[in-house]
């Protein structure tokens, strides 16, 4: 149904340098910043077929294709982006970037602070979703894109989509908000806080200056990721995947890995430590926590969405408890009340929040059907 089509092949990330200072919501400004970007497909002559992909907490600019022919793993959303795929690179010019504050090449805590010549580390300013969107708008300017045919994102990416539609209404034709929420719940913020405390209380954290000490707060970052993973999966999915089986015939009565799920979580935690920066993780979770377009519009989500003019597609997953369908319905309700055009699909799913990355037939079917119309509109 959704996965029978091609790959964008080998792609080379591009670095975009922005010398004009970016004023941030925290009051500080970045004098200079860089964004790592990948693009797939071709921008048409009217520059009307561009699609922006916004990534989630741990995502980056490598959304599709391979970096080398013998890469084992393609980009994080390769099952959805490519020739003939729901986000069809034969029809769209697809732009994916590593957000500001990231650790995959865009300016972030691991970059050098021009004022000190040392890595920013914990001195990198905390960012908001709006900061990201404004940095992405400059990228659009640079690429010659006045209006995105669609801005698409899941989870934290869906928050960027919402922010785009509210902050730059004329620049977003269609907004596709997947497995997201109009703001975090107290429970969500609580999970983020435990993840942050795990990092902050790691003796190797050194107030965020761990790089200068030549160490990594790996225990804290690992714990943060292990906790995150529990919330990205449903109870049923974990039961199906791991059960409560011991790895050996009898209990060993110690704290080594005894159950399959322990082994899985430790592996996920460790592989995350190898590829992610703790200061970036802290920053990303804060950006999630701060997102609240209603707060910016006098406490009313409806008032926030009155500013938007895009058409919306909102998608939620039945087994997602981290960003439950009820949260997506809040978005839909506010959009309807604001008189905006919106469609909503609830995808029957098993895995949990992570389902937004899965090639579920109904999910990709709805996305494909929607984007085919978008492609016809902008052709």
């Amino acid at each position: 149904m959704s996965n029978q089509t091609g790959s964008v092949g080998v792609v080379t990330p591009q670095r975009f340098v922005f010398e004009q200072p970016l004023q941030l919501d925290c009051g500080r400004s970045l004098p200079h910043y860089e964004l790592m970007v990948e693009t797939y497909g071709r921008l048409n002559a009217q520059a009307s077929n561009a699609v922006l992909i916004c990534h989630a907490l741990s995502g980056d600019h490598h959304a599709a294709g391979l970096h080398a022919p013998d890469d084992k793993k393609p980009g994080w959303w390769d099952n959805c982006i490519g020739p003939g795929k729901p986000i069809d690179t034969d029809r769209f010019f697809v732009v994916a970037l590593n957000n500001l504050g990231g650790c995959k090449g865009s300016t972030g805590p691991t970059s050098l602070n021009p004022e000190t010549g040392l890595p920013y580390g914990p001195d990198f300013p905390l960012l908001t979703v709006s900061d990201w969107v404004r940095s992405q708008a400059r990228l659009a300017d640079r690429l010659g894109i006045r209006q995105w045919a669609a801005v698409i994102g899941g989870s934290l990416g869906g928050m960027q989509v919402q922010q785009w539609s509210i902050e730059f209404p004329q620049r977003v034709r269609h907004a596709v908000v997947i497995a997201s929420a109009p703001e975090l719940s107290a429970q969500n913020i609580a999970f983020n806080e435990i993840a942050r405390q795990a990092i902050l209380s790691d003796p190797d954290f050194h107030g965020g200056h761990y790089a200068a000490k030549g160490v990594v707060p790996s225990r804290g970052l690992k714990l943060a990721r292990m906790l995150g993973h529990i919330t990205y999966l449903s109870d049923e999915a974990m039961r199906a995947k791991f059960g409560a089986e011991l790895k050996s015939a009898t209990p060993a009565f110690n704290f080594d890995v005894e159950f399959e799920v322990e082994s899985y979580l430790r592996h996920q935690g460790q592989s995350f430590v190898d590829r992610f920066d703790a200061n970036t993780y802290l920053l990303m979770t804060k950006a999630l926590d701060y997102f609240d377009p209603a707060r910016d519009a006098g406490g009313s989500l409806l008032a926030a969405y009155r500013k938007a003019s895009a058409r919306f597609l909102v998608i939620a997953f039945s087994s997602d408890w981290r960003f439950s369908p009820a949260r997506s319905r809040e978005i839909v309700r506010a959009l309807v009340a604001a008189g905006r055009e919106v469609s909503y699909a609830l995808i029957d799913s098993q895995l949990g929040h992570d389902d937004f990355l899965m090639p579920i037939a109904q999910y990709h079917g709805v996305l494909r059907a929607y984007l085919q119309r978008v492609a016809e509109e902008v052709a």
């Binding site: 319905r329 309807v336 009340a337 469609s343 909503y344 699909a345 029957d348 059907a369 929607y370």
Partner: protein, 202 residues
Amino acid sequence: MNTAAPLRADLAALSPWIPEGSRILDLGCGDGTLLAHLAATQKVRGYGLEIDPANVRAAVARGVNVIQADLDEGLSDFANGAFDVVVMSQALQALQRPDAVLAEMLRVGQTAIVTFPNFGHWRVRAALLAGRMPVTPSLPAGWFDTPNIHLCTVADFEALCKARGWKVSRRALLDRRHRGGLAIRLLPNLFCEQALYELRAG
């Protein structure tokens, strides 16, 4: 919009009741045919609610605003008086509480348009007289697998409206080809197969 396919007869019958340019909510919108038709021909704007995933996908493909929802959970996503017209075609008899949904339609809409098969039709009565549950052109499913759990006659429906104080502002009682006729005018509850009603809150 796709207007090439001919509109289902009951939808064709109710379309003229919907004012040009109105804001509508279509409950059980299926693949979005009615909304697409009304948008193309009468500049109608609005949303469809649909529970079936394949229909949701088809409606999205048609370019209508479709919101996946279960009508039995009510219309709490919508504000009082948010729509000019709330339409529900051939879904009344499949609801857990048809009366509750009708009340919701009249809360969010100025008018409610409802269509349903008349269980008082003579074919139904004949089947029951013969001691069997009816299987008719309008009600083709067997008793064990029918989605229709709350069937009513035209007389039952009007009694409910009266009891709840809902005003019938328009009605059309038709045969299964959605035509009227002398027999239906004389004995509506016996000869009507498809009923169309427009209601207003009292």
